[in-house]
């Protein structure tokens, strides 16, 4: 652990250097937001969605990237965030239509969207805190299966708890609060949270344990506790992503929060590179961009005098194919486990 206690003779310069990866990512997100603001409204919605995925992938990264333990629970935490904000922000008259059996103390709530979104994050964190406590002892495939089970449980419960979630029916009439500026700010917020966390002593210990759990445990690191902290924080950020998603769509359906979403988020993280924050951000943006290009191609893109068009449905096939090829040729992800430092010889403190 000497590495962590390393004190530099020039601390201020050192700190500034350490902030470069953070600042670069923020600049990228701001540029994406600014570029999108010049586009059409449909285009803007796509970029907002990409930024929301970015929040969710960064949330997933906080746990998976630092602990090295696989989690399938993303869509569960997103569902918790989405349903929480729906229940507390929907207008009471809407709720009496969609959720006639809602308990009275929830039925009368009519919070502003921002409060609902934050509450969504907190609810996800709360549930992660309770369920995560025993789960954090597991690693490897067992941990994966436990979080997969958690996802199935949330899906089944929310899909059948008619009085509170409306079961299989959609909840409608949420405020369309999330526009480009909000999405950009939340994306920056998620990146900042993840960065501050990964620079913390606890996260460094957790990453040390990822490299060598036996040695880390022997040197007195309480892996379980640090994993739990990462899990709860990860759930908070992911829950917020779910709430943002709800306030983008204006509706909430349980079908949105199952395997495909979890796969997509995991794929984004792995494609970007699960071992660095830059990887999480790049993966989310890259796969969103790829998806968008394929969507445009399916609709037909005029190039010179030709109309380049691929048959509908082929886009999804190509997407999966690209995903496979990236995994084959860049198994460590696009970022290769590094942060953005813009210098050739440094490979960031991430490998510590």
């Amino acid at each position: 652990m000497d590495l962590l206690a390393k004190s530099s003779p020039n601390r201020i310069g050192d700190r500034r250097k350490r902030l470069i990866p953070l600042v670069s990512l923020i600049v990228i997100v701001v540029l994406v937001g600014l570029a999108a603001s010049q586009g059409a409204i449909v285009m803007q919605r796509r970029v907002i969605l990409a930024l929301i995925y970015l929040v969710a992938v960064v949330g997933l990264y906080i746990f998976v990237g630092n602990s090295g333990v696989l989690s399938f629970a993303s869509s569960a935490f997103m569902a918790i965030g989405a349903y929480t904000t729906a229940i507390v922000t929907m207008a009471p008259n809407m709720k009496s239509t969609f959720l006639p059996d809602l308990p009275a103390f929830l039925a009368i709530q009519h919070m502003p969207p921002l409060a609902g979104i934050m509450l969504g994050g907190f609810m996800a964190a709360l549930i992660a805190a309770v369920i995560g406590a025993p789960l954090m002892r597991l690693s490897g495939i067992s941990a994966g299966i436990a979080t997969l089970s958690l996802m199935v449980i949330v899906y089944i419960v929310f899909g059948n708890w008619d009085s509170v979630t409306g079961g299989q029916r959609s909840l409608m009439g949420l405020v369309g609060y999330v526009k480009l500026p909000q999405a950009t700010l939340f994306a920056i917020g998620a990146i900042v949270i993840a960065f501050i966390y990964q620079e913390s002593r606890g996260a460094l210990m957790l990453r040390a344990s990822r490299e060598d759990p036996v040695a880390a445990a022997a040197s007195g690191i309480r892996i379980t506790r640090h994993r739990w902290i990462a899990f709860v924080l990860s759930a908070f950020v992911t829950g917020i992503a779910g709430a943002l998603f709800a306030h983008l769509q204006g509706t909430v359906r349980i079908e949105s929060f199952y395997l495909s979403l979890t796969f997509l988020l995991l794929a984004m993280l792995i494609v970007g590179g699960s071992q660095s924050l830059a990887g999480a951000v790049m993966g989310a943006l890259a796969l969103s961009l790829l998806g968008e290009i394929l969507r445009q191609l399916e609709r037909g893109v005029p190039i010179l005098q030709f109309d380049l068009k691929i048959p509908g449905g082929l886009g999804d096939i190509v997407m999966a194919l690209c995903l496979l090829l990236i995994l084959m040729f860049r198994p460590l992800g696009l970022a290769g486990g590094r942060e953005l430092t813009f210098s050739r010889n440094r490979t960031s403190g991430d490998n510590g």
């Binding site: 696989l70 025993p134 789960l135 002892r137 597991l138 690693s139 490897g140 495939i141 067992s142 994966g144 299966i145 436990a146 997969l148 089970s149 958690l150 199935v152 449980i153 089944i156 419960v157 059948n160 395997l259 495909s260 796969f263 995991l266 794929a267 792995i270 699960s274 048959p311 449905g313 082929l314 999804d316 096939i317 997407m319 999966a320 194919l321 995903l323 496979l324 995994l327 084959m328 198994p331």
Partner: protein, 293 residues
């Protein structure tokens, strides 16, 4: 529902899960790959039945088996072989990618809606067993699952190739140093998992009467859980885990109060989490779960 019906349900459902769990377990034991694309091996057998409607039954069954085996071997050669040296999580995610890829190919050619397939109308009747009405499909399922299990166990126990596969799953590097061909053993594991998936696909379609692109997905997720609670890397464990999941699911379906019955899968997966917390490496942990080099 009487006890004969409950036992029939539990055995047929458990048999389906056990065969699926074994298919997943076979590949895992030699490659350390948790192959989610196993779902599509089940689905492709279903689509082969759809294509073969009207042809003689033995031919249709052969087509189903051939389709699953070919797809299994193709995924190994084209996708998983180049990925052999990446870490487990990346392999797992690439198996999702393969799974989604094949699913979307089904959607592309056949649409996402369910299509009716009535392959074995003769099975759609009830017979009386010990005074209870039991569906013929379920009895057939039990018989076929039993026969397949016996076949698989005999192959693994009594043939040279089976011996090599078991050796590779216990200590891959040592097996290679004795001349066991890695590529061949892995390819055969995939082929076997394809056969198991085909059996499951045919039985499953016979029971539900339709195919759709995500036919195998839920089945494989539940069976995968069976593989893990049985003890990953241990084939006996996979089999027991599959049956156990089938039994628990049937018992929940039968004995949960009506208002909680729609939550049965939540209970099932809750029990799974409890089992994992008590036995993190499953009920029958593999003795020599070494990393493959």
């Amino acid at each position: 529902m009487n006890s004969v019906q409950i036992i029939t349900d539990a055995l047929s459902l458990g048999g389906i899960y056990a065969l699926t769990a074994l298919g997943i377990g076979l590949v895992f034991s030699v490659l350390r790959l948790a192959n989610f694309a196993h779902a599509e091996l089940v689905t492709v057998a279903g689509y082969a039945l759809l294509i073969g409607v009207g042809l003689p039954l033995p031919l249709v069954l052969f087509m189903a088996a051939a389709a699953s085996v070919l797809v299994a071997m193709a995924t190994e050669r084209l996708a998983f072989r180049p990925l052999r040296h990446v870490d487990q999580t990346t392999m797992l995610v690439s198996s999702f990618a393969v799974s989604i890829l094949i699913q979307n190919i089904f959607v592309f050619f056949s649409g996402s809606r369910a299509k009716g397939v009535d392959i074995l109308p003769a099975l759609a009747r009830q017979v009386s067993v010990l005074g209870a009405d039991v569906s013929m499909v379920k009895l057939t399922t039990i018989a076929v699952c039993g026969a397949t299990l016996v076949g698989l166990i005999s192959f693994l126990r009594f043939t040279r190739l089976g011996l090599e596969m078991r050796a590779a799953s216990q200590d891959f590097s040592m097996a290679r140093n004795l001349g066991v061909r890695a590529d061949r053993v892995i390819l055969i594991a995939f082929a076997l998992s394809g056969i198991l998936a085909a059996v499951v696909g045919v039985l499953f379609v016979a029971e539900v009467g339709f195919v759709q692109p995500r036919l195998g997905l839920q089945l494989v997720i539940i069976s995968f859980v069976g593989t893990v609670i049985g003890g990953l890397g241990n084939l006996t464990g996979a089999m027991v885990g599959g049956f156990l999941i089938g039994f628990i699911a049937t018992l929940l379906q039968t004995f949960l109060p009506l208002e909680l019955r729609e939550f049965r899968e939540a209970f099932l997966f809750g029990i799974v989490i409890l089992i994992l917390l008590v036995r993190p490496h499953g009920l029958f942990p593999a003795r020599h779960l070494k990393e493959r080099v």
